[in-house]
């Protein structure tokens, strides 16, 4: 490369977790005044590598140098002392404290704590980089993007000039993402080294100066972003050529399947989660649900699945012959007893859809264990189903008696989706079906969902990646603060318009 000294030089970094080699002799250079995108599929070791830089893990082998000096990073504190700060995917903030209090938490500054002075410094940082945050606002009052801002300021406040962001855009709307990117560019121009971990290619292209790619824990290569393109990066990530188009077959003979009318849901704390929501989902169609996270998507799906107590409204299941049945007030067992075959792929795969400590066969049993009269369970058919799912969906697992928590994210999701579609559903609810999945697995899931749609299933697909929703869904229902902001056809919808509808009821009505 050129004669610049890298801010961080990682050499021969190896880290193993039991038999799993997470990083295998990885080389990586991070320069100041540059945004580096660290790209790779799930389980390729991106986060592990950065965790070693930020002191969470300690490498088994290898050397890290900061500004040409060899260092040992034993703890997050060591990392901070070296100016390295990491913003994790899951925020680590105390809800009942204010932004300023969270930011100074754990800092041992001499003298009395003067929150006003802290706030002043925070405002200084905000002005320098273009953040917007009120230092005295409580965390519980904040949106996800504001919380993320607090996390970033927390790191800057500690004087970090090497920033690592782990999938920062996963929880943001397009508009918030643009704001974040503007801030990150300001930091780069200020001479800081910025690393973002991601697997969204269009973000890499939009934001980064250089891209480094990991695959199966190994360093594959790095190059200036300008000199590459999405297809080449994908091929490097996956190791072979893949097609990046999502199919969208025309719906065949759509009939009303689920009719939701004036649905209202309150959380246990009395917060209105869904407010007068009405729509119809048709068979043979994918209805996409877009919205900022926490706008009622979870409550909507769980209401239909019989898991969420509702306050008002109705959810009707309409059979092919036009017979209608009310689902509200019934639990999942009662819904199944009615003969409604409703499958649900929840957001929380290991905490709700599957049992992490159980093996594949036992997880298959979750849906079917009541079958048969006797006192004892039938162990044979779940085993058979597990073998079929592993074979049909190409799940990579040592055996069907491996606990599912040991599988990678993509394989966990294949197991869950495989089980849910095995019961030949007429309605398929999916929440963030490809969250955290790599490209290969994501396309497998899109393909499975499309096949269900073609088989006449009414699919309700809650998604966070607007680009995917726009390519996959036949219609898109946009939620905003628990209300229906609008329903638009998927073909021809503009990302900008949907983004506006996510943040404001009715979307760009104000502009017209």
């Amino acid at each position: 490369m050129d004669n610049k000294t890298p801010a961080v030089r990682m050499r021969n970094i190896t880290k193993t977790f039991g038999p799993v080699v997470a990083n295998d002799k990885v080389w990586l250079d991070i320069y100041r005044g540059e945004i580096l995108a660290l790209l790779g599929e799930n389980g390729s070791g991106k986060t592990t590598l950065m965790n070693m830089l930020s002191g969470i893990y300690f490498p088994d082998e290898g050397q890290i140098s900061i500004d040409g000096r060899e260092v040992v990073i034993r703890s997050p504190k060591d990392a901070f002392d070296l100016g390295i700060g990491m913003i994790h995917q899951h925020f680590k903030l105390v809800d009942v404290l204010s932004a300023a209090e969270n930011i100074v938490l754990g800092l041992h500054e001499p003298g009395r704590l003067d929150l006003e002075k802290v706030a002043e410094r925070i405002r200084g940082i905000c002005n320098a980089y273009g953040f917007e945050v009120d230092p005295h606002q409580k965390i519980y009052d904040m949106s996800v993007s504001q919380k993320q801002t607090v996390e970033i300021i927390k790191v800057l406040y500690r004087g970090a000039d090497i920033l690592i962001l782990d999938e920062p855009t996963a929880v943001l709307t397009p508009q918030e993402t643009d704001k974040l990117f503007a801030v990150l560019r300001n930091m780069r121009n200020d001479g800081k080294a910025v690393v973002i971990i991601t697997h969204k290619l269009h973000e890499v292209e939009e934001l980064s100066d250089r891209v480094a790619i990991l695959r199966h824990g190994q360093f594959i290569g790095d190059m200036p972003t300008k000199k590459t393109n999405a297809q080449e990066m994908t091929n490097m990530m996956v190791g072979h050529a893949v097609s990046l188009n999502i199919e969208r077959p025309e719906p065949v003979d759509p009939k009303p399947r689920i009719e939701v009318k004036n649905l209202t849901v309150r959380s246990i704390d009395g917060v209105l989660k869904l407010d007068d929501v009405s729509f119809t989902a048709y068979s043979g169609e994918i209805l996409g649900i877009a919205g900022i996270s926490g706008c009622g998507q979870k409550e909507l799906l769980e209401s239909i699945a019989g898991l969420q107590p509702t306050e008002g409204g109705s959810i009707c299941y309409i059979e092919d012959n036009g017979e209608r049945e009310e689902l509200i007030g019934k639990d999942p067992l009662a819904i199944a007893d009615m003969g409604v075959s409703l499958s649900f792929v929840p957001e929380d795969r290991l905490g709700m859809g599957l049992v992490g400590n159980m093996d594949l066969a036992d997880n298959m049993m979750l849906r079917s264990f009541r079958r048969g009269r006797g006192f004892f369970t039938d162990r044979k058919s779940p085993k058979k189903l597990a073998q079929d799912v592993v074979h049909d969906l190409e799940v990579s697992t040592p055996s069907i008696s491996t606990p599912v928590r040991r599988l990678s994210g993509g394989n966990v999701q294949k197991v869950l989706v495989g089980r849910e579609i095995a019961s030949a559903p007429t309605v398929l609810l999916t929440a963030y079906a490809v969250r955290g999945l790599d490209i290969n697995s994501s396309y497998t899931i899109y393909d499975l969902i499309n096949r269900q749609k073609q088989a006449g299933v009414a699919v309700i697909y809650v998604g966070e990646d607007l680009d995917v929703l726009l390519e996959l869904a036949d219609r898109i229902l946009v939620l905003c603060g628990g209300k229906v902001s609008g329903i638009v056809p998927g073909r021809g919808a503009k990302k900008r318009d949907v983004g506006m509808m996510m943040t404001r009821l009715g979307g760009n009505a104000a502009n017209e």
């Binding site: 977790f17 039991g18 038999p19 639990d331 999942p332 709700m352 049992v355 992490g356 159980m358 006192f375």
Partner: protein, 366 residues
């Protein structure tokens, strides 16, 4: 020269999974190390020959046919209570009230023997004892379960408190039924008539409880691993949200499982009073309700492995009390020995789950 910077001297790495023989190798090594540590402590503090001490321990547990029978009888009671707590533990319901649930079973058995002995034919009396002991244990388990299911109270505290309630109840009835008046204890119930005494099998007074518990162990193993209810328990234990998601009624499972847990404790109480001691005191369970927690955990909630862990704990207890009498040592000395051995056995689980790697002595050049 540039300074070779050093990593931390040791760091801890989580293992994937060990093959079973390596895991059992580590456990065997832990026992050997524990015995060596005990030998050192014995020699240093008492000057006794540790080999002799160990010989005495084995002698205490298995020295004569009678001692062996008693060891197995004690083991059967401990195993029975351990079986009782296991379904609750699999459900992540921390039932530490086995002491009280067993005591409730003891009290119910004794009540039948005292109050109904001359009113019912013996076979009917024994049937009543069985039913009431199991029912009493089940009720003692049900009370905290219902509170947990309806109002999400803390089951650990609740079951613990129920122990003291049971103890006080027994204390009350001991005074009420004391024989002779003023003795402060009940003494052997129906000593001359032997009414309500559980029958001896094959002429041995030890065999009944052993056989009953052996059957209970197999049933519990089948129940937990091969039945729909056992599967529901496992799902509720791992994740209540998953259970709700597939339509399992969590409250119902909690209540049903604790009823079973308490009922098996009640069975242990029946064996203790009707089959072994023929009396009831406040200390008849003798802390076995708590030892059972350890038996169950050490066996990772597997009823078959619990056979071995309960034997180990009973062996330690009987062996240790033998050495304190044989060598004229303080009773606390046997506690020390038991403590050291358990420390090693429980501690070795850490080495099964984690690996400790040391910094390589010669730093490799980069």
């Amino acid at each position: 020269m540039n300074k070779q910077s050093k990593g931390p001297l040791v760091h801890i790495v989580k293992r994937g999974s060990l093959p079973w023989y390596a895991a059992w190798g580590i456990r065997a090594l832990a026992i050997v190390l524990a015995l060596i540590a005990c030998a050192l402590v014995t020699t240093v503090t008492t000057g006794e020959n540790p080999i002799q001490v160990y010989a005495a321990m084995i002698d205490g547990a298995f020295g004569t046919a009678r001692k062996t029978w008693i060891t197995f009888q004690n083991m059967s009671v401990l195993l029975c209570i351990s079986l009782a707590v296991t379904p609750a533990f699999r459900m992540r319901f921390w039932n530490i009230g086995a002491e009280g649930q067993t005591l409730a079973g003891c009290l119910a058995t004794a009540a039948c023997m005292i109050l109904l002995a001359d009113k019912l034919p013996n076979w009917l009396l024994i049937c009543t004892m069985i039913l009431s002991a199991i029912a009493a244990g089940a009720v003692w388990g049900l009370i905290p379960a219902i509170f947990k299911a309806k109002w999400n109270t803390n089951e650990t505290l609740f079951t613990l408190m129920m122990n003291y309630v049971a103890t006080q109840l027994v204390a009350y009835f001991v005074i009420l039924w004391e024989v002779p008046k003023g003795a402060g204890k009940i003494g052997i119930i129906n000593q001359s008539s032997e009414l309500g005494w559980l029958p001896q099998l094959f002429g041995s007074k030890y065999l009944l409880s052993i056989i009953v518990v052996a059957i209970a162990t197999i049933l519990m193993y089948l129940y937990l691993n091969y039945t729909k209810q056992g599967y529901e328990i496992a799902v509720v234990g791992e994740s209540e949200r998953t259970a709700r998601y597939v339509g399992i009624k969590v409250e119902k499972v909690i209540i049903r499982t604790m009823a079973i847990s308490g009922a098996v404790c009640g069975l242990a109480g029946l064996l203790l009073v009707g089959g072994i001691n023929h009396t009831v005191t406040t200390t008849i369970v003798g802390g076995r309700g708590f030892t059972a927690v350890m038996v169950s955990w050490l066996a990772k909630f597997d009823p078959i492995i619990m056979i071995f862990t309960s034997l180990l704990l009973v062996f330690l207890e009987r062996g240790a009390s033998e050495i304190s009498t044989d060598f004229g040592l303080n009773q606390s000395f046997s506690d020390i020995i038991t403590g050291i051995i358990l420390f090693f056995i429980i501690g070795c689980e850490f080495f099964i789950n984690y690996k400790i790697s040391f910094r390589k002595a010669a730093g490799k050049e980069g």
